[in-house]
Amino acid sequence: MEYIPLNFPFLAAALLAGISFYIIIFRKNLIKLIMGVGMMSSGVNLFLVALGYRAGGNVPIYTDVPEGPMVLSVPQALTLTSIVINVAVLALMLSMVINVYRHTGSLDSEKSRKMKG
């Protein structure tokens, strides 16, 4: 794994977050918006996992630890929690979009808007 420059995962995470921000702000389609939120959570999760990575480290599942550094386990626990939460959020969003579509017949955020001012 030492072929990957150490900063690479962080750049990828920043790129994912940036693209998803663009999608969330500028895209009109509600499903695309949800995909943006999903991408943003992937970016943050990638960032968390990359934080705890140590080049050539052991997997943090041993009780009898082999020689060498160990990959940090706390960020992985955080990431797992965050993934579970995001699944719930995305499912809830999708179910709401289904209802929005039933009521308004459109997924365009400009056309399905009822409330202004």
Partner: protein
């Protein structure tokens, strides 16, 4: 009793959580038993919160370490730093806890008849109790990641509750906006937590506060946390989703959502005062809160003046009232680190801001409940279509008047006592803050008078011949909150001494918060 108080921080979170998953089971068998279970568990939580509050005021900060052999064993043997999840209840946390327990009990009672005609009531109460647990978790936790988890629990259940009445199109739109905002805000919080963890290998607020350096990464983390929490609290200019989401929810839920806004506000204060505290560039951060607080006050109220939807109108007022608290506590933050100014007016400004949280948490849910009562009886939220309802709904009218007088800061009601505290203290910081505050207050009174006139006054309208007073449980819920207003009006100094000053001191005294987790600093 002593054991109960020792374990009360976790019990206050766990009881609603357990009840949340019991309600669908019991609800399948019997509706009455389910309702009783919800009310009794929330009432028990109120009792626990008050017992814990008394204990915190007398004995100081209470910590509860989850999974440790004894609750006060914050740092396990052989470790230098806390590794377990720690709940830390200080004056400010328990102050928010008192508000949340009372409002959630009132909201549950209000829901009994407010959603009586809806389907899926078992799930409604499950979500409501989950939201209660999430809110308490946000207020009591001493751990950053735990804060994120509870923030998500409160937001997901909140969004589902906003969209609960799926037969209306606008509820779906409001709920969707709320969940998108919540998802973005909580991902920003998580990113900031990652930045802090990368530098200090810690997640506990007190432990990070001890070693924080205020590096560039810390500043980015601070910006992310503040943007996320102020967005969720509905501060201008990130308020556009706020009236959309709050006006369409069932009225009982809107009352609770106001308090989740306060909980996010509490989290922002916790980050500024406790996590960064003495390392913070306090005048800059304070001024940012003050400027956006002023904008919230003014823009909120001017937008409210020409609203026709009663709930939307009150939502804009909520934004405006939240501005007072940002300004009050922002002034305290701006002079943090200068003991002379803190003593002269900083502590009073913060007390005023925090006192206003309590007052707002009593009268705003009350007003939202009266708005819900109007919707319940007339089937519309449009103020122009209502009229003459004072003839039929005497209780609602009286309670609406109490709420109106209180929100406009008419002496001697409680809204006046907190506003005068803010006006007097922030005047010494900068006179413009007081002037904006008074103008906002006048506009508030004007718009509430207009709404009162169009909903309650005038001759009886023929289409509302059949309207009756709202069911008893809704009246009881509103009376609970009105009783809170009357109590604060009658005994302001008692309330200030027992809840407000401990809360303000808890925010100012960062050292005590750190010591409670890390032990005395050698």
């Amino acid at each position: 009793m002593a054991t109960l108080i020792t374990h009360s921080p976790i019990l206050i979170i766990a009881i609603p959580l357990v009840t949340a998953f019991l309600t669908p089971l019991i609800g399948m068998a019997n509706r009455k038993v389910r309702d009783a279970l919800v009310i009794v568990s929330l009432a028990f939580v109120v009792v626990l919160v008050f017992a814990l509050a008394r204990d915190v005021v007398i004995n100081g900060i209470r910590v509860y370490t989850l999974g440790a052999t004894s609750p006060d064993l914050t740092i396990p043997t052989g470790f230098m730093v806390p590794v377990r999840i720690i709940l830390e209840v200080d004056g400010m946390s328990i102050f928010m806890g008192i508000i949340w327990s009372i409002v959630s009990l009132a909201a549950a009672i209000f829901s009994l008849s407010h959603i009586a005609s809806e389907t899926g009531q078992n799930r409604f109460y499950t979500l409501l109790l989950l939201m209660v647990a999430g809110g308490f978790g946000m207020m009591f936790t001493g751990d950053l990641f735990n804060l994120f988890v509870f923030l998500e629990i409160a937001s997901i259940s909140g969004a589902a509750l906003i969209a609960f009445r799926i037969k209306f199109a606008d509820t779906q739109e409001g709920g969707f906006k709320y969940i998108v905002i919540s998802a973005i805000a909580s991902l920003m919080v998580l990113f900031a937590i990652g930045l802090l963890y990368a530098q200090y290998n810690l997640l506990n607020i007190g432990a990070i506060a001890q070693v924080i350096q205020y590096t560039t990464l810390d500043k980015i983390a601070l910006a992310l946390l503040l943007i996320a929490f102020t967005m969720k609290a509905g501060m201008v200019p990130l308020h556009l989703w706020f009236p959309d989401a709050y006006s369409v929810a069932p009225a009982s839920i809107t009352g609770m959502l106001v308090i989740t806004s306060h909980a996010c506000m509490y989290a922002a204060f916790r980050v500024c005062f406790t996590l960064y505290g003495s390392m913070l560039d306090a005048p800059v951060a304070g001024w940012i809160l003050i400027v956006f607080g002023l904008l919230s006050m003014f823009i909120g109220v001017t937008m409210a003046v020409f609203q026709k939807d009663v709930m939307r109108f009150m939502s804009y007022h909520a934004i405006s009232q939240l501005g007072y608290m940002w300004v009050g506590v922002g002034v305290g933050l701006a002079v943090l680190g200068n003991a002379e100014f803190i003593a002269a007016y900083g502590r009073d400004a913060m007390s005023g801001g925090i006192f206003h949280i309590l007052n707002h948490a009593m009268y705003k849910p009350l007003l939202f409940f009266t708005g819900g009562a109007l919707f319940h009886c007339t089937g519309t939220r449009d103020l122009t279509k209502m009229g003459g309802l004072a003839h039929k709904m005497k209780w609602t009218t009286i309670l609406y008047i109490i709420g109106t007088l209180s929100i406009s800061g008419i002496p001697p009601l409680n809204g006046f006592s907190s506003k005068i505290l803010i006006y007097e203290s922030v005047y010494q910081f900068h006179p413009i803050l007081t002037i904006t505050g008074i103008i906002t207050s006048i506009l508030t009174l004007a718009s509430f008078t207009k709404a009162f006139h169009s909903a309650f006054m005038g001759a009886e309208l023929p289409e509302y011949k059949e309207v009756k007073e709202v069911p008893r449980s809704m009246v009881i819920a509103m009376v609970i909150l009105a009783a809170g207003i009357v109590f604060i009006t009658l005994f302001p100094s008692l309330v200030v001494d027992w809840t407000i000053h401990p809360a303000a001191d808890a925010l100012i005294d960062q050292e005590a918060y750190i010591t409670a987790v890390m032990g005395a600093i050698p």
